[in-house]
């Protein structure tokens, strides 16, 4: 949207003889959009109350009319880890590098759930809030970002549970823990970028909403969530496997937490580059399509 909260210079320009009282009032100029426009990050700040309200709504709604309420935030990843531990650890007897398999699967799922949650929630955010998009003005970016925020809260709770798991299993993270925020940041960029692209596309093509869960399911099994990368034969298969930018991210995050070796420097560089690129692409795609959301949705 081509609105510019005008700076004083811009404000005086059109009329030339604007009286002082008018200069005091904030002015907004609405113009047809240009092809490329910078993202108005300050708008996100101006609308922080709404951003927060939307994120809070998201969280409140998810567990309304449930018996266990917020407990689900804790139970979901625990169940998930349990299933993974059973299938990969007990049935398939895969190597977890000496770590209890539940802990191993849990840390992988922590990263995966964050990624999965952000992509799904961001992607569906515009369509799910179609009436808002069509009838109310606010920076559209607020909707996917509020999805990111509410997923981050889930993540924080799950992380706290993870800490307890660590405590009970007698594992202590080492210095490698310091790398965790870095992997997390990359994961956020990748997930948010992907979510933004999907959200923008879903406004015109609802197919995205249908494809996405399937694609994510596929990605889940193609990522080292329930097993380590070392399971994949080295050489070509491993190289191909690591084309999935999520693989080094999840592996990196887990090794940071569990502190046992790191998969590779090159794949780390690669995945960072991809994450940043996807995030920027997400912003650009979103920005370019944003102006027609209200007309199309």
């Amino acid at each position: 949207m081509s609105t510019t909260a005008a700076d004083p210079a811009q404000e005086r320009a059109p009329a030339g003889e604007v009286a002082p009282s008018a200069v005091l009032a904030p002015m907004v100029r609405i113009r047809p959009p240009r092809a490329w426009e910078a993202l108005d990050v300050s708008a996100l700040w101006r609308f922080r109350d709404l951003l927060l309200a939307l994120a809070v709504r998201d969280i409140k709604l998810r567990y309304r009319q449930t018996l266990l309420g917020v407990l689900w935030v804790v139970l979901q990843p625990l169940f998930g880890a349990g299933i993974f531990a059973f299938i990969f650890g007990r049935v398939a007897r895969l190597d977890s590098g000496g770590v209890p398999y539940v802990l191993f699967a849990y840390t992988g799922l922590l990263a995966w759930n964050l990624f999965n949650g952000i992509v799904l929630k961001a992607a569906g955010s515009l369509v799910a809030n179609a009436p808002l998009v069509a009838k109310v003005f606010f920076p559209r970016l607020l909707l996917p970002i509020s999805g990111v925020l509410s997923t981050l809260l889930d993540f924080a709770v799950a992380l706290a549970v993870g800490t307890l798991l660590f405590y009970f299993s007698g594992q202590t993270p080492g210095w490698s823990l310091l790398a965790a925020p870095f992997w997390l940041a990359m994961l956020l960029l990748l997930a948010t970028g992907l979510g933004l692209i999907c959200a923008a596309l879903a406004v015109s093509y609802r197919d995205v909403i249908h494809i996405l869960p399937v694609a994510l399911q596929f990605l889940l099994y193609g990522s080292p969530v329930g097993y380590t990368i070392s399971v994949i034969p080295p050489g070509l298969p491993r190289t191909l496997y690591e084309l999935n930018p999520l693989a080094p991210l999840i592996e990196g995050f887990r090794t940071a937490l569990l502190g046992h070796g790191f998969s590779g420097f090159h794949s780390g560089i690669y995945t960072c580059a991809i994450s940043v690129a996807v995030f920027l692409a997400g912003l650009i795609v979103f920005r370019r399509r944003e102006r027609q959301f209200a007309d199309v949705i």
């Binding site: 009329a15 100029r29 609405i30 109310v136």
Partner: protein, 408 residues
């Protein structure tokens, strides 16, 4: 002159690209198929639809401007552009001051959240910050009359309560420019009146500039001093509200014709009115009369069977559907055939437009009834001629201009 300008709209236009239905891709599959078929054409062939064309107007601070027009005239598009929801494709708009827009009551209300939670969420959506909502909270609840249900999810509210709460939040928005679209079409009559009052209060007391779209002509007339008539994306008329409303109604009744054919009505009824004719007092067919001029209305009807105690009735209604007067013919016993009842209108209605309600009855039983038909415009042409005067409140024109005498 520009010192108290709140809104300045300059040559604004909006063109939608509408791919002809057959060519538009609405799913990815279609899009892919399309690209495969003609990989180099960037876009499918498109038709253009001009929703708004070269719209310009200015609104001064504290002014209450009504925007009227038929469905599809471009009102909502204009409001959406002014609210920054959708961008224009041409032109420029300057908005001086904080804009609050209310294009729909209760947008963002969530059925699972409680009344209290929805107040905060909706307030944030409308652009209020937390402190403002805190400050207005009690007043919002009081206005909506939903105190005892605050902690209940909104899905358990009656639809009336729902609307009241939603409007109440919006009414406590304190913008410099308030943009309102057709929100009064909801709620019961008493609450509608309360909302109107509140909007008037917002406009007059706080000095906010208000843009108001409605199909309810009494509301527009009550609130606004000035109005803009949009028709097919173009500003057709911009001026005092009465003048614009009259033009709107004339537009609505398609044409000012002296003879209006009436709808057939109930096929088994023995009576039906066929047409309404208007003519000047001297018998000239027409639907355009001067202020203070007398004119005649003829109701033509036919009877399929003989009826006793037959009465033809003609009702006059104002621009906004307010009934003004009803006339009845003297009761008569009639044989089957075609008849006409002629009414003389010698009442000096004020400038504006009128339409009719037509009824035929026998033995006080209604055999035929239709309303909102025909149209007569009373013009200001006679404005200068005594004793009439064009402007002034009321549905009747001034009928006298007494001389002022000096008191000793």
């Amino acid at each position: 002159m520009s010192s108290d300008l709140a809104i300045s709209v300059r040559n604004v236009g909006k063109t939608f690209r509408v791919a002809s239905a057959a060519r538009r891709a609405t799913t990815l599959g279609e899009l892919v198929a399309q690209k495969l078929r003609s990989p180099f054409s960037r876009r499918p062939r498109e038709d253009e639809f001009r929703a708004l064309e070269d719209v310009s107007f200015e609104v001064h601070r504290g002014e209450v401007l009504g925007i009227i027009g038929r469905n599809g005239a471009g009102k909502s598009t204009l409001l959406k552009i002014l609210s920054q929801i959708t961008p224009p494709t041409q032109g420029e708009i300057d908005l001086h001051g904080r804009v609050g827009s209310l294009l729909e009551v209760g947008t963002g209300f969530h059925p699972e959240l409680t009344g209290r939670e929805n107040i905060y969420l909706n307030g944030a959506i409308l652009g209020m910050n937390r402190r403002e909502i805190d400050r207005e909270f009690d007043s919002i609840v009081a206005f909506a009359e939903t105190e005892q249900f605050l902690e209940l999810p909104v899905k358990r509210y009656s639809s009336g309560m729902h609307v009241r709460l939603a409007f109440s939040v919006a009414a406590h928005l304190r913008p410099d420019i308030l943009i309102v679209d057709e929100v009064l079409a909801v709620g019961d009559l008493a609450f509608q009146r309360k909302c109107l009052g509140k909007m008037g209060e917002v406009a007059h007391r706080s000095g906010a500039t208000v843009l108001f779209v409605s199909h309810q002509m009494p509301a527009v007339r009550n609130l606004c001093s000035r109005a803009i008539l949009l028709e097919r994306g173009v500003v057709l008329e911009d001026g005092p509200v009465d003048k614009v409303l009259a033009r709107y109604l004339a537009l609505n009744t398609s044409a000012l014709v002296a003879r209006t054919e009436l709808p057939p009505g109930d096929p088994v009824s023995p009576a039906r009115a066929t047409a309404v004719l208007t003519r000047s007092n001297s018998g000239e067919p027409g639907a355009h009369f001067r202020l203070g001029e007398s004119w005649r209305v003829t109701v033509e009807f036919e009877l399929a069977r003989a009826q006793t105690h037959v009465i033809a009735a003609l009702g006059l209604r104002s621009v906004d559907g307010v009934p003004l007067i009803t006339w009845w013919s003297a009761p008569q016993d009639l044989a089957p055939g075609r008849y006409a009842a002629e009414f003389l209108c010698d009442i000096p209605f004020s400038a504006g437009a009128l339409d009719f309600a037509v009824g035929i009855s026998s033995q006080e039983r209604v055999l035929y009834y239709v309303e909102g038909v025909g149209c007569v415009t009373i013009d200001e042409i006679a404005a200068g001629e005594q004793p009439f005067r064009a402007s002034g409140a009321g549905l009747l024109a001034s009928t006298q201009r007494p001389l002022i005498r000096a008191l000793a």
